[in-house]
């Protein structure tokens, strides 16, 4: 009897505990589904839904053959729905991302360094080294000195004059990065006198691109005759560029009837990128070239973040900027800059350009798409929203001992595959500090590279290449009309916070970007530039 009395409370306790736990087990997966009332809002998505725990379906408003490439990009990486809710879609999210990647963020010592530690629960091959450290220095010479001194294991963008130094140093390895980028002089057509197309054409005729590439770019760079790099679909050799002809430029300025000389401002940010290795020097050379044809520019240097915001907001007249490929397709270059969803960087948009671009983006077969890109590239040449100048060859340099060192043509080097035989970490020095780590709301390559170590998307780009490979989704299929896309998630993937990946996390990660009315549509500055550029329009976008 007494034995029974002793066991009974214990049994009761067990029953109680089970009773409390059961609802959690019993609680089934409640799939999220969000749909637009109709496709009239102008965006690409009609429905984003979780079919079951491991299946996500996107129903589009128009065919998008580039969707797999897009979902592999870091702006569409997946974070836990709970984390997005807990942070309110901004704030902490910018400093504290939670992903599924091989590294998780250990500590971001603002202004100093960023430390990543290996995520032991990673679904794929674990990172080779337990620690990854990002540092930054805007001076190419200073980065090289650090590499030579051995305080860092790899550096981005050695200075153009240092390529030979590195190649001849047996302790270092130089890896050249293909110039899948474009450096251009942006012209805002809402600022006088650049609202006159003749003036813009004069600028185009008045710039000696060959001189800039020959004198201020490293080996492997080439003159840009179009916005598209030659190696990417969308480059159309049929469209001949305007030649360098200062005489013609002066004639055009005269025809335009604008008072000469034109006084204006040329803005740039003093940061080195693969497409622009010497910003200040190139700016001064352009200043001298433009003065020759009667355009006097004052040079205006701005802080990187401010400059990008000003450029996107259409607040600059002439500006120097560039673009590196996120995925190898015309949509990544042309639609992002000149499409219907692009920013106000070049002022008002032209129907002649947006028309063929949106037509071309909706077709699957390259031979069907090609004529539209000829049309778009011709219109871009004639209307001159910008003058393409160079495709910058760039490179990365590592200590010779680092195994797995590579340069990615998309600038998203994966450090998880790198191994340092000398110690337990890989230390990488890039051009600048990441601005934020919630990459749906970042556009700067220095930020994106950091995100790409931490978070992952449904698909990914192969290491050191551009091909799309499975990541969080093991497989996907598209309907014949390319309107319905179904992704099958990899089972057993866990986030850095221990929670496991399900279809709702995917829906939520897309939804906070897609739905402008969502309380979680916050981000760092709330622009979600990539999403709008990729998918044209937000759901519930505030009317302008």
């Amino acid at each position: 009897m007494s034995k029974l009395l002793r066991v009974l409370p214990l049994m009761l306790l067990v029953v109680l505990a089970l009773g409390l736990a059961m609802p959690a087990f019993g609680q089934g997966f409640e799939p999220m589904s969000v749909s637009a009332d109709s496709c009239d809002y102008g965006g690409a998505f009609q429905t984003i839904e979780a079919v079951d725990e491991l299946t996500v379906r996107f129903v589009l408003c128009f065919p998008d053959p580039a969707l797999p490439s897009k979902v592999a990009f870091s702006s569409l990486h997946i974070q836990p729905a709970e984390h997005l809710e807990a942070t309110g879609g901004g704030g902490d999210l910018v400093r504290n991302p939670i992903g599924t990647g091989p590294y998780r963020l250990e500590n971001w010592d603002l202004g100093n360094e960023m430390v990543f530690s290996r995520f032991d629960g990673y679904w794929g091959e674990p990172a080779k080294e337990p620690t990854l450290i990002f540092r930054w220095n805007s001076e190419a010479a200073a980065r090289l000195v650090e590499l030579q001194a051995g305080t860092v294991d790899g550096i981005d963008n050695p200075g153009p004059g240092d390529f030979d130094v590195i190649a001849n140093d047996p302790n270092l390895q130089l890896l050249e990065r293909e110039g899948l980028n474009i450096f251009y002089l942006g012209i805002n057509n809402t600022v006088e006198p650049f609202d006159n197309v003749l003036v813009r054409q004069a600028v185009s005729y008045g710039i000696d691109k060959q001189r800039i590439v020959d004198n201020f770019y490293p080996p492997g760079s080439s003159v840009a005759d179009q916005f598209m790099p030659t190696a990417i679909f969308g480059y159309t050799p049929e469209v001949e560029q305007f030649p360098y002809d200062p005489e013609r430029a002066r004639e055009l300025l005269e025809q335009s009837g604008v008072a000469l000389p034109i006084e204006t401002t040329l803005s740039y940010r003093d940061v080195v990128r693969g497409y622009l290795p010497q910003p200040g020097v190139v700016a001064q050379d352009l200043q001298a070239q433009l003065a020759e044809i009667g355009i006097n520019v004052t040079i205006d240097v701005q802080e990187s973040g401010t400059f990008l915001d000003n450029a996107d907001g259409g607040n600059l007249s002439l500006h120097l900027l560039g673009w590196g490929a996120d995925y190898p397709d015309a949509t990544n270059f042309l639609d992002y800059h000149f499409g219907a969803g692009s920013s106000a960087q070049f002022g008002d948009k032209f129907e002649e350009i947006t028309g063929p671009l949106s037509a071309g983006a909706r077709l699957a077969a390259p031979e069907d798409r090609y004529p539209f890109y000829i049309e778009a590239n011709t219109a871009i040449r004639d209307l001159v929203p910008m003058v393409p100048i160079a495709h910058g060859g760039s490179g990365v340099a590592f200590k010779a001992s680092i195994a797995g060192a590579h340069a990615s043509p998309l600038s998203n080097e994966q450090f998880a595959v790198m191994e340092d035989p000398d110690d337990d970490n890989v230390i990488w020095m890039q051009n600048a500090e990441p601005i934020g780590l919630y990459c749906p709301d970042e556009t700067d390559g220095e930020s994106l590279r950091a995100c790409e170590q931490i978070t992952e998307g449904l698909l990914a780009y192969e290491v050191a290449g551009t091909a799309v490979v499975p990541a969080l989704a093991e497989s996907y299929e598209a309907s014949d009309d390319l309107m319905t896309w179904t992704f099958h998630l990899r089972p057993g993937v866990s986030f850095h916070d221990g929670s496991s990946l399900d279809a709702n996390d995917v829906v939520m990660s897309f939804l906070v970007q897609w739905d402008a009315a969502s309380p979680l549509h916050v981000g760092r500055d709330g622009n979600f530039t990539y999403f709008q550029a990729y998918f044209t329009q937000f759901l519930n976008a505030p009317s302008e």
Partner: protein, 318 residues
């Protein structure tokens, strides 16, 4: 005939056989000439002024003209090291005494033209600061009371800021540019002169000849500018000469930070700033502007020190 003799004797200079004590300024000039460092300083500054004025005639090239595409110029031009025919550089190559800069412009011509900018900033800003600062100091010291308090407390506030920081703040508000940098440097130097002038006035205004002047009913303006100012001038001149050097350095610092001279204006500080990444690979880009700044500042400092010795009566070495 005795009387006329006496008259003649009386009219004769009683100090005829003594060494005549000339005016303070002539004495000072003599002392300066005797002071080696002052003479050296004066020579350097004289040469610099000459260079600054004659730059358009003696510079071999246009300081903002890139050599790319110019006749005779081929190969990799940016950062080309100096080519001096006398030192064995091939005669076929165009001569560039100090090489070419990042934009392939002639460094020598830029240094020559830069002299004008540096001297202009140095001398104008200090002249402006002396005029404004000493006027404020004179008024404060002479008026005393509330006016004195008001002026000097404002000066104290200005002095409380680190000078370069204040200059940066002013330029940020006014917008970058050499003229604004000049103004900023002038403003941050004002308090030093105000204090100096006030201190002199406080001691001078107690002298008997000022009291006498007052008793005679002379207007304040005449007392202040006719009698006090000339006697308070010496320390201002010494301080002024010394701080031209500092002003040149400040202007270079502001340009280095991108707040002073705007491209493509040739300015030594800006030249240093553009080339700072190439100290090891192209030292000529950093060496020559650095040297130019050093020589200029040295010249003004030597002259300042010499003037201080020469104008200080307690240091007279007869």
């Amino acid at each position: 005939m005795a009387a006329p003799d006496a008259v003649t004797k009386l009219k004769a200079d009683p100090f005829k056989n003594h060494p005549r004590s000339a005016s303070l300024w002539i004495d000072a000039l003599k002392n300066v000439r005797r002071n080696r460092s002052a003479v050296l300083g004066l020579t350097i500054i004289g040469l610099l002024i000459l260079i600054a004025l004659l730059a358009p005639y003696i510079a071999p090239y246009d300081p903002i003209q890139s050599m790319i595409g110019q006749p005779g110029h081929t190969g990799q031009l940016p950062r080309k090291p100096p080519c001096i025919h006398l030192l064995g550089c091939s005669v076929e190559e165009p001569e560039h005494l100090m090489g070419l800069d990042l934009n392939a412009r002639d460094v020598f011509s830029r240094i020559l033209f830069g002299a004008w900018n540096s001297l202009r900033v140095g001398i104008t800003s200090v002249a402006f600061a002396i005029i404004v600062g000493s006027s404020l100091g004179l008024v404060a010291g002479y008026a005393s009371g509330l006016v004195d308090n008001l002026i000097m407390r404002v000066m104290d506030v200005l002095l409380a800021f680190p000078s370069l920081l204040l200059a940066i703040a002013i330029v940020t508000v006014l917008g970058p540019g050499l003229e604004n940098a000049l103004l900023a440097i002038a403003i941050v130097t004002i308090p030093a002169y105000a204090r100096l002038a006030r201190a002199s006035v406080l001691s001078i205004k107690e002298f008997d000849y000022i009291t006498a002047e007052r008793t005679l009913g002379a207007p304040h303006g005449r007392i202040l500018f006719g009698h006090i100012l000339p006697n308070a001038l010496t320390p201002l001149i010494v301080q002024g000469t010394l701080s031209i050097g500092t002003a040149v350095l400040d202007a270079a610092a502001l340009s280095f930070l991108g707040l002073g001279a705007q491209p493509p204006t040739p300015e030594w500080g800006a030249m240093l700033s553009e080339a700072r990444n190439y100290v090891f690979t192209s030292p000529h880009l950093v060496f020559y502007p650095g040297l130019a700044i050093m020589i200029t500042v040295l010249g003004f400092n030597l002259l300042g020190d010499g003037l201080r010795d020469a104008l200080d009566p307690t240091l007279n070495r007869f």
